[in-house]
Each structure stands twice: as C-alpha cells, then as structure tokens.
Subunit: 341 residues, 2 copies
DNA sequence: AAAGTTCGGTTGTACGTATAACTGCGGAGG
DNA sequence: CCTCCGCAGTTATACGTACAACCGAACTTT
C-alpha cells in the first residue's frame, strides 16, 4: 500500500560507496570542518551523482527542527498587478538564502487566514510574511506571533510586528519638489479620495504635497487641491475644472496614476498638449498605464520589490525589532513634465 | 544548541489526556473508522485544544512519503500582471484539496530552473506546475518527469507533459464572429507581430479571424490584414492607415489590447468616435488597458485563472495523460463595439 | 464452560536524517 | 616498549508521526 515513489536515500548511497550513512551525511553537509579523506569523499560524491541522490527535506526538517521555508500570506493576490512584484522579490530574497516560499492567498477571508497560518506553522516555516495589497493599518492574527513575522505594505494597529511600508509622505513631497524644481508654481493636486478614508496613500501624499509647496515658499492655494471618491470619472471632472480656469495650473499632480490619466483625458478634451501646455505627474507607476500613455507618465513608483526583499531579509536576519520601516518611492521620469522658462 | 522552538507533540497531548500517542494519532486522523470511545476522544480533543497542539508536517511527510505540497515554477512572475491571477487560482485550487503551494520564479534562467526543480523534488512535492508567462512551445527540464507535472500557458515541444493553454484560434474566431453578428462586413485586423514569430497568439488568432470571415461568406480582403512588430507605435500607424482609406473598415480587431489601443489613438487623431464611427475589439483583457479606456474596450479574456485551476486539478486528480487542453477565452463585453444598421 | 469475537485501546517500529559518542589504527613522544 | 593522541571513520539514537501487530476484558456463540 505504501507507495514509495521516492528515490535513493543516504543508506543507498552509503552502500554504493562502501561507507556508512553517517559518512555520507558528513560529506554532504560538513563540507569544511569534516574528517573524511579526500578519497572517500570522492567515492561518496560519485555515488551520489550516480544514483541521483536527493536529500529528503522532510527528514532533514524533522531532525533539525526547522524547514528553510518562508510563508507568504497575501489578502488579494490577483486583483492587483503589484502582487506579482512583491511576491517575486520576496521569493528571490528567500531563495538567495536557501529558503523556499510557501504562498497562500486568503482573499481577505479572516477565517481562512487563521487556518492558513495554522497550516504554515504546522509546516515549521521559519518565518511568515504577511502582505497587504494596499497600504493600510490592520490587525493581524495572533498566531503570527508564534514565529518571526513581518508585515508588508501595512502597519499593525498595535505596532506589535515589524512592518515595511512605502514612504508616502516623502513620495508626495519628492514628486512636488520635482515639479517645483522645474519652475512650476501653480500646481493642481487631485487626490484619490477624501481624507476621511484615512489611507496613508491619501493622507500622506497630500501632506507631502502641501509641505513641499510650503517649504518652497509658495503660497498654498486651496482651490488647487481636489479630492475624489476613488472613481476615474470624478478625477477627470476635477482635472477638467482645474484646466478650465482663467489661470489654470501649469502642472497637475495626480495622487495616483489613474487620477493622472484623468488629467490626460481632460487635457485632450480641452485641446491641451502634455507636457507643452500642462505637465502631469502621477503616483504608483502602474506599468500598463504609466508606460503606455502618450506621452509616458512621469510618476512615483511604489517600492513593491524593495518591500518584498526587505521583509524577507528582516525575517532571515533573525533580529526581532518591531520598527516600521518606510521605503523610499523612486521617481520614474518619463515625458509628461516639462521645465518652465 | 538545538533550539527547539516547536510546540507540543502528540506525546505531550497523550500524557495530558492519559492515553498513548497512538490513540492521539487515531483520534486526529481516523475520524470515522476509528475504534476509540467517545469519551476518550473528547479527552484527547480537549487536550489538543488546551495545549494548542499542531501536527508536525515534517514528521508526517516523512512517515507518509508525500508532503501535500505542490510546486509552482514560473519564468517571469512580476513583469506581467497575469502572473498573479494564475498563481492565485492555482493556489486556491491546491488549498481546496489541502495542499499548499511552493513558488519559485526563475526569471527564465535555465540553470536556476534546474536547481529549483531539484529543490522542489527534495521537498517531496506531490506535483509541479510549470507556468509560462506567455503562450509558446518550450522544452522542459527532464527532472519534471520524476513527479506528476503539468505545463500552463505553453506546450512542450515533445508533447511529453500534459498542458493547459488558451484556445487562441477559437478566441480569434469568436471575436470576429461577434463583430459579424453585429453587422460588420469590412473588418480590419491588426496583428501583433509577423507570422514568423510562430507564437500561437499571433498565428492562431489570425487564423481564427480569417476562418470566421470566410465561414460567414464574406470576402477576405487581404489589404485589411496588417502585421506589426510588437511595437505600439507600429500598431498605431497601421490603424491610422486603415482608417484613412476611402472605404475604411467599420470595425478593427486588434490582436491584443495594446494594438487595439493603437486604434483608439488613431481614431482620436482622425476625429473618429468609438464606437459610433468605428468599432474596436481587442484581445487579452489587460485590466488596466481594457477597463480604463474610454469607452471600455470589448475584448477576449485570457483564461489565466482557469488555466491555474485546471492545471492543479489535473495534477491532483492523479490521472496521467499528456493531452493538451485548450481553454476557451471568454468574451468581455464593454462599449467599443456597436451594432450596425 | 470453552471458544470465539468484538471493543478499546497499547506497544513497537519505520520513515531519512544529523550528530554525539565511540572505536581501531598508526605514529609520535617519553 | 608502553602510552597517548589524532585520524577516519562507525554505531547508535532521536526527531514526531502513522500504523501494523498485539492484548486484555467483556460479551457472544455453541
């Protein structure tokens, strides 16, 4: 009944090489500080190659008490193209350290999440990465604390776990500064949503924008700041109204790329050319929008890959702090902003 | 030295419940056909809950010879937004069957791929899903054959492994039929690339288009069929030339969404409205393009989720055929096609 | 009453590995 | 010549689980 599909074991190798299983283990693991003659080592290695021996990780994990496995839990994997990036980077980082990544997506289902964590823990994962698909604050399941864990793209409400998030404030500020540096003094800002949403992407980007304007000694014109409802149509309307004024802004900063796209459409409808008549800056660097708009959209990239890397690196480093790490959003320069004067 | 972080074992539970370890195992696994009294079962379950016992999968896998793990290997995960969808669906399907998914992305690196497969095999995975990020034919590493494997979004050159691919031909044909059903008789077709690329997306979609036109008894006008070089600009130029003719087509079918987007831009530049003056149909259903164009692009969706599901399902079903399964591409109706007459 | 037959468990072992503890041997040191 | 020691391994064991084989008591069956 016991279907034993698996290949040769160390015992088979040992027999083939005329040594004991322990010696095989020594050769395979202890590469340096070992006490086995070069000749024996060769024989063992030859037998390994000849038989196509592969270590049985289950046995190894059982013996060693850990698995060289990292768990990855995400709330909504597919819906966002970012997901792949963060997963890839996390996996790459884990692999670089000899770990594989176990992935579970929960679709935000709390109950499934608990079971998923249970399942990961029972597989002796060495750590868990909990990734949120959009930046927010959240409560994490208690079981996460049983093993080193880190939260990506979100912060825990109680600050009980280390987290890695995009630096929205610095991003908003850098984007604005970029426009200011190019001579823009009247800059329209179209936010994604109202501040009540409490989302860092909404609140902090706007704060960054305002502070940059203020720090540059420019007057803050509240009528240039618009807030939407997350809808593309609303963003379009806002952009249209901004550009239709007697003294329109010379640049529009959309708090995300979709909002910026609204500005493109408004400009097109009004016969304005980008960047000649009006400059546009986005945020998020959604490849399919930003890179394919004509002209290409200059925007701030969310550091998904970097978050994935840092998160796993933090797990594997073994240091247990709970600091929130803010990662810089790099500016991606394309062709939608021009220098004035 | 041996850092034993792990929690209680069956022995601990057994002691707490005043039974033997075997009884705990019986209670936990054999739920039905077991021979343990209701009262004992209760005691064991209580002890399990009280101690927070969790099975050690490493030990279980070692004992049982399999891991309830599925390996997922992809060539370019992040670069494409499709990746997330296929991964999510595959993982969901695996989870539904009590399996977790181990993911590795190789970036197309052949050597890394071999090592990844080795690593998966040494972890006793019950099967491997090998996903290509765009539809093509490829050679798979021989080691894949050591365990049930299935190829997604690609076919093996030697047909040695089961595969699941999108039905490009049927998709091209269905899209065209959709236009014909709405009264279009002069339909422009802008292919992504030349047929020399040998890619199914290029070859079969065009074949589907031609066959649909032919089957409808319409005359095939070769001058309405254009081929690009994968570049957005070229697609735009083709669309422009098509629409600039004395008798322009009433509809343009772009072999992918980016090509269709070129048609949007050409139409806009010529002052033509979609769908009033010209209808446009795409292929791929790239959310960020198709859903956000104005008007929304009617297009054929690639069945990524379905491929992920089917692939894993095939693995878990245990049946070992090597057939290539073609999955239907569903039509996503938005607003870029109008009925004539 | 002797001989099964359930019932409700227990004992023992194997899965493949890593490693602590041991061993046989040849040479160096006294 | 005896002792000691380093070398190059070997032997034995534990990790936590599943399950085959066993076992005692109570209950039938003949």
């Amino acid at each position: 009944m016991t279907r034993r599909r698996s290949g040769p074991t160390m015992h088979d190798v040992a027999r083939a090489a005329g040594v004991s299983q322990a010696t095989v283990s020594l050769v395979l693991n202890d590469a340096e500080g070992s006490r086995v003659s070069a000749e024996t080592r060769e024989r063992v290695l030859a037998a390994v190659a000849h038989l196509g021996y592969r270590v049985n990780s289950a046995a190894k994990s059982l013996r060693e008490g850990h698995s060289r496995l990292i768990g990855f839990i995400g709330d909504i994997v597919a819906s966002t193209p970012f997901a792949g990036e963060i997963i890839e980077a996390a996996q790459d980082r884990a692999w670089a350290d000899g770990h594989l990544m176990l992935i579970v997506n929960t679709g935000g289902d709390r109950d499934l999440e608990e079971r998923a964590i249970d399942s990961l823990l029972s597989r002796q994962v060495d750590g868990i990465v909990y990734a949120a698909m959009y930046h927010r604050r959240l409560k994490v399941p208690a079981a996460l604390r049983e093993v080193p864990s880190v939260v990506l793209n979100a912060e825990t409400e109680d600050g009980s776990l280390p987290a890695v998030v995009p630096d929205e404030y610095a991003g908003g500020r850098a984007a604005t500064q970029y426009l200011i540096d190019r001579g823009h003094e009247r800059i329209g800002f179209i936010n994604i949503n109202t501040l009540e949403s409490r989302l860092p992407a909404v609140v902090d980007r706007e704060r960054g924008f305002l502070d940059a304007v203020d720090a540059a000694g420019l007057k803050i014109d509240r009528t240039l700041v618009k807030r939407g409802d997350g809808d593309a149509e609303t963003a379009y309307q806002h952009a249209r109204r901004l550009l239709d004024r007697k003294r329109p802004p010379t640049a529009i900063f959309g708090a995300n790329d979709r909002t910026a796209w609204g500005a493109y459409q408004a400009a097109a409808d009004l016969g304005l050319r980008i960047p000649d008549d009006v400059s546009v800056m986005g945020f998020d660097n959604q490849e399919l929008i930003a890179a394919h708009l004509r002209p290409g959209l200059t925007t701030m990239a969310l550091p998904f890959a970097e978050m994935g890397r840092q998160g796993v690196a933090r797990l594997l480093s073994g240091q247990r702090g709970t600091e929130v790490e803010a990662v810089t959003c790099p500016l991606v320069e394309r062709a939608s902003v021009r220098s004035l004067g």
